[in-house]
Amino acid sequence: MDKQVTLSSRFKILTVVLILIGVAALVTGAFTDSPRFWANLLLNNYYFLTVAIGATFWLAIQYVSGSGWSAGFLRIPMAMGTFIPVAAITMLPILFGAGHIYHWAHHDALLDPVIAHKAPYLNMPFFVARYILFFAAWILIALLLLRYSRKEDEKGGLDYFHKAQFLSKVYIFVLAVSFSLSAFDWIMSIDVHWFSTIFAVRNFAMAFFHGTVIVTLIVIILNKLGYLPFLNPSHLRDFSKYILVLSMIWTYMWFAQYILIWYANIPEETVYYLPRTKGEFKPFFYAELIINFLIPFIPLLSGKLGSRIKILVPICIALIIGQWIDLYQQIFPGTIHHFKIGFIEVGSFIGFLGLFSLVVGWSLSRTPLIPRRHPYLKECTEHQRV
C-alpha cells in the first residue's frame, strides 16, 4: 500500500524532450510571428493552470462532501495542485508583454472611451496586484491541503481531516471570487469592448470539467503502471459520472452564453461571436461543441460503458483536445484574428504538456501515493456499487 511512485528515466527524458520541443516552438514563434508567441503562451499557461485549479477544486469537493470512494486518489489532485506555483512563474512574461495581448494595456488605449471607462479596473498596477493576490491564495491553499494530508500520514487521527475539510470550504469560496476575476482578467479582457456576465461560470465549469478528466486519466495510467491496485469498475463509474455531469454543466453554460447573445442580437455582444461562427473559426465552433459535449455525453449515459477503461481513456484524450479548442476559440480570434495552426501551436502545447507531466510526476514521486491514514480509505479500497 505504501508504494511510492518512481519516475523512470524514460519518463524524465521524454518530458524533457517535450519541453525542449515546446521551447523550440515558442522561440520560433517569438522570432517569426510574435503575436502568436504571446497568444500561445497565454493559452498554454491558462490551459494547465485551469487543469490544476479544476483538480484542486475536485479535491476540495471530495473533502467537503465527505466522499469515501475517492479517498485513495486524493494525492493525484494534490500533486496537480503543485503545478500552480510553476504556472505562476511561466505566466510571468505575460505581465511584461501584456501590451502584446491585451488591447487595454497599450499606451494609447485610453483614447478609446470604452477602455477609459473600464480603466479603474483594467490598469496595469491593479492587474499585477490581482495576479499576485490570486496566485498567492491558490498556492497557499493548494499546498496547505497537501501538507495536511502528509501530516495525517504521520500522525493519524481526525484532526487534519477536519482541518482539510474546513480549508476546502474556504478554498471553494476563494475560488468562486478569484477564479472568476482571473478569467475576466486574462481571457475576457482580450476582447475588451465585449463582456459577458456568465463568462466566469463558463470558464469555471471548463476548469472543473477538464481538471476531473485529467485526474481520471492519471488514475488510469497509474493503475496500468501497477499503482493503485484497488481501482475497480465502480471507481471508474463514479469518475465517468463526474465527467458526464460536468460535460452537461459545461455545455449548459456555453449554450447559455451563446443563445442569449444570439437571441438578443445586440451588435456590441454579437461582435464576439461573429468571427467565431461565421469567419475562419467556424469549424472549431462546431468541433468544440461536438468534442466537449457529444463525445462524453452519449457513451457515458450508459454507466456500464463508463466503467470500462477502453471507453473512458479515448474520451479523456478527446477532451484534452476539446479543452484546447475551447481556449483557442476564446483567445485566438481576439489576438491573432486569423485561423492559424502550425508548429508554434502544436509544439508549445506539447512543451507545456511535458512540463505539466514532469511537475505532476515529480510531486507524485515525493509523497506516498496513498494517504494511508485517511479516515475513509477503507471505504475507497472496498468501494462497490451495483
Binding site: F255, L301, Q384, R385, V386
Partner: protein
C-alpha cells in the same frame, strides 16, 4: 387461494444484508425483500436490476422528437412568420425542446412506475408488514404447500440464526405483486 409467506424481520441493515447473503447461499429462494431505504449491497446480492432508466431514456428521445416536430410544424410549415430576423428553424427551439424532454421523460417515468407497481393517488397501500416503511427490514420467503416440515424448519432456523428479531407467517395480501423492481 391465498399463499402463505415466511417473513423474517430484522432491524439492522448490515445484519440484514449478511442474512440475505447467507440465506441465498444456502439455496433457499428469496421471494422478496423490503427495506425502509435502499441498501445497495442487497440489490447486488439478489441481482436486482431495474429497467426503468432505459424507459426514461426512450421517453426522453420521444419527448425531444415530438417537441421538435410540433415546433417545426407550427413555426416552419403551417404558419411561417419571420420575426427578429431569425431563421424559421432556429436555435430558439432548443430551450423548449430541452424543457419538454425533461417534462415528458419525468412524467412518463412516473406513470410507468405507478402502473408497474399498481399504485397511485388515493389507493390504499398494500403492505406485507407496515413496519417495513418505518425501521424494519423484511425478508419474504414463499411457503410452498409441497414443502416438507424439515425444509420449513430449516428456513425458520436459518432466519433465526442470521439475527432476525421475529419470524412471522402471514398470508399474502390480495393484489400483491410478486416481483418488485
Amino acid at each position: 387461494m391465498s399463499k402463505i409467506n415466511i417473513i423474517g424481520v430484522y432491524s439492522d441493515e448490515d445484519v440484514f444484508a449478511d442474512a440475505v447473503q447467507k440465506i441465498k447461499d444456502s439455496g433457499i429462494v428469496i421471494k422478496n425483500v423490503f427495506m425502509p431505504f435502499p441498501v445497495h449491497r442487497v440489490f447486488h446480492i439478489l441481482g436486482l436490476e431495474t429497467r426503468l432508466p432505459v424507459m426514461t431514456f426512450i421517453y426522453g428521445v420521444i419527448g425531444v422528437g415530438i417537441t421538435f416536430a410540433f415546433l417545426f410544424w407550427t413555426s416552419v410549415v403551417n404558419y411561417p412568420l419571420k420575426f427578429g430576423g431569425k431563421p424559421l428553424n432556429s436555435l430558439s427551439f432548443i430551450i423548449i425542446m430541452f424543457v419538454m424532454t425533461i417534462f415528458v421523460a419525468t412524467l412518463l417515468t412516473f406513470m410507468t412506475f405507478f402502473i408497474r407497481q399498481k399504485i397511485g393517488p388515493g389507493k390504499k397501500a398494500v403492505m406485507i408488514d407496515p413496519r417495513s416503511i418505518d425501521d424494519k427490514f423484511l425478508i419474504v420467503i414463499g411457503k410452498d404447500p409441497s414443502m416438507k416440515k424439515e425444509e420449513i424448519d430449516r428456513i425458520t432456523s436459518l432466519i433465526k440464526q442470521t439475527g432476525a428479531e421475529e419470524i412471522n407467517e402471514r398470508p399474502e395480501p390480495e393484489d400483491f405483486k410478486e416481483e418488485n423492481d
